[in-house]
């Protein structure tokens, strides 16, 4: 999704709140819906330095007490297969190809500034912390896995093999170690200095400096600076000698590293806020709308009934007048007894017809009120 499309979607959400966020996006900066921690930490992954040794995977596995993998970490051939993070592998290194040369990239939770997983969770399991980490508390997890649908980076894994306490698992930024003043396990294990830990604002300056000093080596794009509203973990990619012809800036090169630059520069959860904002409107207005429709129906029925009654009364009056006239005529020509007999017979005939009518009516509208 490019920026124009992103704005279109926000703009067409049709709700004032969404309109105002679109304006902010245009300004290229950000009001952050989640508390954005100014001095939070991050990690810069320089893929030009990464050699795919998988020490970071091993370090992560060790400090987090994850189950040992089937293939040992020394086996580097696994980098050739496209892997993703899972409940038991919180970070993996994959091999990509730029200019025919291998480039390795480490995958883990990006620890977004405004995480989609946290916005999507309906039991408040995720929190974005002041140190920059996005952590998950499984004790109140319902196991709906909407966080996994929401994550634009396909990061959280779920323990499908666990019958009684299956949880979502992902990189924690080694939050417990950060509290002790230690580095994350992967950063500590990296022998090539491909992972740099620091304040996010400093890391952006550092990345800019590297790009400036080696304009031929680096692609002028810090992945995660703005993507998905900004992430704590960011990636620098190598510059390709013949940049792919793809559309927007950095698109093709980053795609070669399996990174999506089309996510947009706003947190994806904002895409749902227009719809969520409409909820109170519907709650407030629907009863008025349908209550009004009901009132109109009732009124129409009442008018219809009154009209029908008027017609019936008119018809009855007409019959009575005609009957009287007929009886008077008989009285004039054939005398009083004949007139009385005629009146009696006619009244009875009318009564029996009325009874028949009402019987039909009740069987026709027996279910009516």
């Amino acid at each position: 999704m490019n920026r124009r499309k992103f704005l279109t979607i926000l703009g067409t959400a049709g709700v004032a709140s969404a309109m105002s966020t679109a304006r902010v996006a245009e300004a290229g900066g950000g009001v952050h819906m989640f508390p954005y921690w100014e001095n939070s930490y991050g990690v810069l992954h320089d893929t030009t330095r990464c050699i795919g040794c998988r020490r970071c995977e091993e370090g992560c596995n060790k400090v987090n007490n994850l189950p040992k993998p089937k293939k040992p970490f020394a086996d580097l051939t696994v980098c050739n297969t496209r892997r993703r993070t899972s409940a038991y592998e919180w970070t993996v290194v994959n091999k990509y190809s730029v200019d025919g040369k291998p480039v390795f990239r480490k995958l883990q939770c990006f620890h977004c500034n405004d995480p989609a997983c946290a916005a999507a969770c309906f039991a408040k399991c995720f929190s974005k912390n002041a140190d920059g980490s996005v952590t998950y508390d499984g004790t109140q997890c319902v196991g709906c896995r909407y966080c996994m649908i929401a994550c634009p980076f396909y990061m959280p894994g779920f323990q499908y093999d666990e019958a009684f306490d299956p949880l979502v698992q992902k990189c924690t930024f080694c939050a417990p170690r950060l509290k002790e003043g230690k580095l994350p396990g992967c950063v500590e294990a990296c022998p090539m200095d491909a992972l740099t830990f620091g304040r996010r604002s400093d890391l952006i300056k550092l990345a800019r400096a590297r790009i400036k000093d080696h304009p031929d080596k680096y692609l002028d794009y810090i992945y995660g600076e703005w993507d998905a509203g900004g992430t704590a973990w960011m990636v620098l990619g190598p510059k390709a000698s013949t940049p792919p012809p793809a559309g927007s800036h950095g698109d093709g090169e980053m795609k070669a590293l399996g990174l999506d630059t089309q996510i947009g520069n706003r947190p994806v959860a904002e895409l749902t806020y227009g719809a969520l904002g409409a909820v109170p409107m519907i709650v407030a207005f629907w009863p008025v709308l349908f209550g009004g429709a009901y009132a109109m129906t009732k009124r129409k029925e009442a008018i219809h009934k009154a009209e029908q009654e008027a017609v019936e009364k008119q018809a009855k009056d007409d019959v009575t007048t005609a009957l009287d006239a007929a009886v008077r005529k008989i009285e004039e020509t054939q005398g009083q007894p004949a007139a009385d007999a005629a009146r009696k017979a006619m009244t009875e005939a009318l009564k029996s017809r009325e009874a028949l009518d009402s019987c039909h009516a009740s069987s026709d509208h027996g279910e009516g009120k």
């Binding site: 979607i9 309906f122 399991c125 896995r145 929401a150 499908y160 949880l167 895409l271 629907w286 009516g368």
Partner: protein, 404 residues
């Protein structure tokens, strides 16, 4: 007519279970599916979700969400559709269609929640969403609305079991009287909640713009889901009426039978209009999002199949059927619409979801997942039959004629 053949439970003989124990093909298939389902249920809850499904980290929502939840809720829309038509719009001749529609809607939602328990990692923690409400989550809104609406449907439906059990427990009539007074409030409450959660099921996917194919992803997904749920609601009344006439015809009274055809034609006309509106909405959205170039791809062809074969075609068939008063054509169109709705929900949740992933990482439901979904449907049908055999749903109870 047939009304004299209806078995009405009495004070002494409250149950009428004989129908379930006849050796009919329907009963045998039901028994087999329920048996398989029970075994799979034990497997699911002792060995974990992974043991019975192909769900993965890339595809955390599969058959159970795509069919049981999305289709289940959508196809149970007949409840709000019929009650609004009858009570709010004053189309009194739909009255005999209200109880069957409310019954199926109630069962539909009830079993959506039951099916959800299979999908959740911690099914017993479902109420946690009320204790730790994640108010930024669309799923929270869906859960809140479905829980509330299920309660409303239970109250609306409860009149039927009350009339049945009042034979033995006459005090239940007080409740029945009270509910009948609240009909219009319940109806308006129901349509408000339905609007919210039917649309929110579409909103669920708004958060995944990169994962869902652009032809299906749209800022208007909530509206698409809501509009199509109306079409689904009307079509399901016709569609399940078709089966009810086959299976439980002898439980319908003369009023129901006399009104049934008129209900079909009226609903056919309404759904035809709604489907046409839906078609225009989707078409406009496709142009507005500048998705024309996607139409030439495989997904584009699939989108065209959905739009023309399962939206425009049933729309035209409905129009023709209601105009010519051709009941068979209307029923065919209803089946066409229902399949189309299921197809659309499958597209959003599975077929066009994760479209950019290599095929080796894509999802196809495990046979056991499909059997669990079939098990849920079988439970709905069985519960429906139990209700129809015991409660005045397809007929009016002689004690309560003209009483509502």
């Amino acid at each position: 007519m047939h009304s004299h053949a209806i078995v009405i439970p009495t004070r002494d003989k409250l149950f009428n279970m004989g129908e379930f124990f006849r050796m009919s093909p329907g009963n045998i298939i039901t028994a087999i599916l329920l048996g398989i389902g029970l075994i799979l249920t034990i497997m699911r809850f002792t060995m974990g979700i992974g043991a019975v499904s192909n769900l993965s980290d890339n595809q955390p929502w599969g058959m159970w969400i795509g069919f049981d939840l999305l289709c289940g809720v959508c196809l149970a829309a007949g409840g709000y559709f019929t009650t609004v038509a009858c009570y709010v719009m004053g189309m009194k001749h739909f009255h005999s269609a209200v109880r069957p529609a409310v019954t199926t809607a109630f069962l539909g939602y009830l079993f959506v929640v039951i099916a959800l328990l299979y999908d959740l990692g911690h099914p017993l923690r479902l109420p946690y969403m009320f204790f730790f409400p994640g108010t930024t989550s669309v799923l929270f809104e869906v859960g809140l609305c479905v829980a509330t609406y299920l309660t409303v449907l239970f109250v609306e439906f409860s009149v039927a079991p009350m009339e049945w059990l009042a034979q033995k427990f006459p005090f239940l009539l007080q409740w029945r009287k009270f509910i009948n007074k609240c009909t219009i409030i319940l109806t308006i409450f129901g349509v408000t909640l339905s609007t919210l959660h039917q649309s929110s099921l579409g909103s669920l996917y708004l958060i995944a713009p990169g994962k869902l194919h652009p032809l299906w992803y749209s800022a208007f997904m909530p509206m698409f889901f809501f509009v199509s749920s109306m079409a689904a609601g009307g079509s399901m009344v016709i569609f399940e009426g078709m089966f009810a006439h086959k299976g439980v015809h002898h439980y319908m009274d003369s009023t129901h039978l006399r009104e049934a055809d008129e209900v079909v034609f009226s609903f056919a006309k309404a759904v035809s209009l709604i489907l046409f509106g839906y078609f225009l909405l989707k078409l406009t959205d496709m142009f507005v999002q500048d998705n024309m170039h996607h139409l030439l791809s495989g997904y584009g062809a699939w989108w065209l199949v959905e739009m023309f074969g399962f939206v425009l075609l049933p729309c035209l068939l409905y129009a023709k059927g209601s105009r010519e008063r051709n009941i068979k054509l209307c029923r065919f169109a209803a089946a066409n619409t229902v399949i189309g709705i299921v197809l659309n929900r499958f597209n959003v949740s599975m077929i066009a979801f994760n479209y950019a992933l290599p095929s080796s990482e894509r999802y196809f439901p495990h046979i056991m997942e499909i059997f669990i979904s079939m098990f849920v449907v079988t439970m709905i049908v069985t519960a429906y039959r139990f209700i129809v055999y015991h409660m005045p749903v397809l007929y009016e109870h002689p004690d309560f004629k003209d009483a509502h």
